[in-house]
């Protein structure tokens, strides 16, 4: 009887102990769940827009982490008033880019980033040009040319596409505030919807005649956290 009581007491003690969750266990969430949404803006575009008489625009950037991969999206507006040697070119439009960045700083506990990425860009815009032009051809005598040409041309509902390879840094500067840069190698621009005017400049891309173009953003971000729980980094396993 005494041994049975002792055994029951032991089992009860064990069960009672089992009810208590160990307080020193670190709760780690699924590493593929996003930890937050980072929203920011390109400072260079804002400064350029304020200093230049030929450009007005802004751009917002956002990304969201899925482990070491980041879904990235940019949206912006862009308007150019560009004097050319024999007239003036204008355009105005909106653009967005979306793609993925891959973070190569796997073991950083703050999740600072050195990344490589890829983007697809799309712009919807309109443009126009007004110019005067005289055909200068040795074979053209005054009797055969049509004099000075004055043309005013407009394209509406243009759509531009391009692709980008990106690289850059994202550094946590204080709590939810981040800064970084993105360098872009843009390529394969195309424009549909052109009429007589061949588009000179694509919002978000730049000069359409350049099949390879460079871009650079200096960005400030605010991160909206989705959770206070820690997500694991690579060295947490070790």
């Amino acid at each position: 009887m005494r041994s049975t009581f002792s055994l029951l007491f032991l089992v009860l003690c064990f069960l009672a102990h089992a009810q208590e969750v160990p307080v020193d266990t670190l709760e780690v969430r699924n590493k593929y769940l996003p930890t937050g949404l980072r929203i920011g803006t390109d400072v260079i575009t804002i400064v350029k827009s304020n200093l230049s008489k030929q450009f007005t625009g802004w751009e917002v950037n956002a990304d969201m982490d899925i482990n070491r991969y980041y879904l990235a999206m940019d949206y912006g507006q862009w308007a150019v008033v560009k004097p050319i040697s024999n007239g003036q070119y204008d355009n105005t439009g909106k653009y967005f880019r979306f793609g993925v960045d891959v973070n190569f700083l796997k073991r950083d506990p703050d999740r600072n980033m050195f990344f490589l990425g890829f983007r697809i860009g799309r712009a919807s815009f309109s443009d126009s040009v007004g110019y005067t032009y005289t055909i200068e051809d040795p074979a053209t005598s005054p009797v055969t040319n049509y004099g000075v040409i004055n043309k005013s041309l407009v394209n509406t509902n243009l759509v531009g596409h391009w692709a980008e390879l990106t690289t850059g840094l994202r550094i946590k500067i204080y709590k939810f505030f981040w800064m970084g840069y993105t360098a872009r190698m843009k390529f394969t621009p195309s424009v549909s919807g052109e009429k007589e005017l061949v588009s000179y400049d694509i919002p978000g891309y730049g000069l359409s005649s350049r099949k390879l173009y460079w871009g650079f953003n200096y960005q400030l971000f605010f991160k909206i956290p989705f959770t206070s729980k820690l997500a694991p980094v690579e060295n947490a396993k070790k």
């Binding site: 040697s85 110019y131 690289t167 850059g168």
Partner: protein
């Protein structure tokens, strides 16, 4: 640390690369559509004597001094997309050439400015003539873009 160094190098390369943005300013357009007359047998030039060539819808009259030419350059209007030319031969016969084309304005760079060029130049058959130009047997398209350095847009074989 090594990754940050690579990132800095990549940044410098990109910034330096972006400096080379001067566009080429080679403008080689013309508003002249060129016809070259060729002898079918020996492929040499075939001179033709014109009394005049009139540009329909304008006051332009060309080749009106009865000289023999083996190449004619006829101006198209950059404001229109078609042009007609009346060829009056020295022997009093006439021909009409009709062409259609597309005007394109391009801006190579802000320093070069904008200019218009013509492409997709097409000869339109004249239903009144059995051949495009009387006596010719074949018209060969050389290039459909009007370029200053192009020797001819069409070769007409006699």
């Amino acid at each position: 640390m090594r990754i940050l160094f690579i990132a800095c190098i990549a940044l410098v390369a990109l910034v330096c690369g972006s400096c080379f943005e001067k566009g080429d300013c080679i403008i080689n357009n013309t508003n002249l559509v060129k016809f070259k007359f060729i002898n079918t047998l020996d492929k040499t030039v075939h001179p033709v004597k014109f009394a005049s060539i009139e540009v329909v819808g304008s006051s332009i009259v060309l080749y009106n001094n009865n000289v023999e030419v083996s190449l004619i350059a006829l101006p198209v209007d950059p404001y229109k997309t078609e042009a007609s030319f009346i060829l009056k031969y020295a022997d009093t016969r006439n021909d009409t050439i009709n062409v259609t084309y597309r005007n394109q304005t391009t801006i190579p760079s802000s320093d070069c400015g904008a200019f218009v060029y013509q492409d997709q130049v097409t000869l339109v058959e004249n239903p009144m003539d059995t051949s495009l130009i009387q006596g010719s047997t074949l018209t060969k398209v050389i290039t459909t873009q009007l370029l200053g350095n192009a020797e001819a847009n069409f070769e007409v074989y006699f």
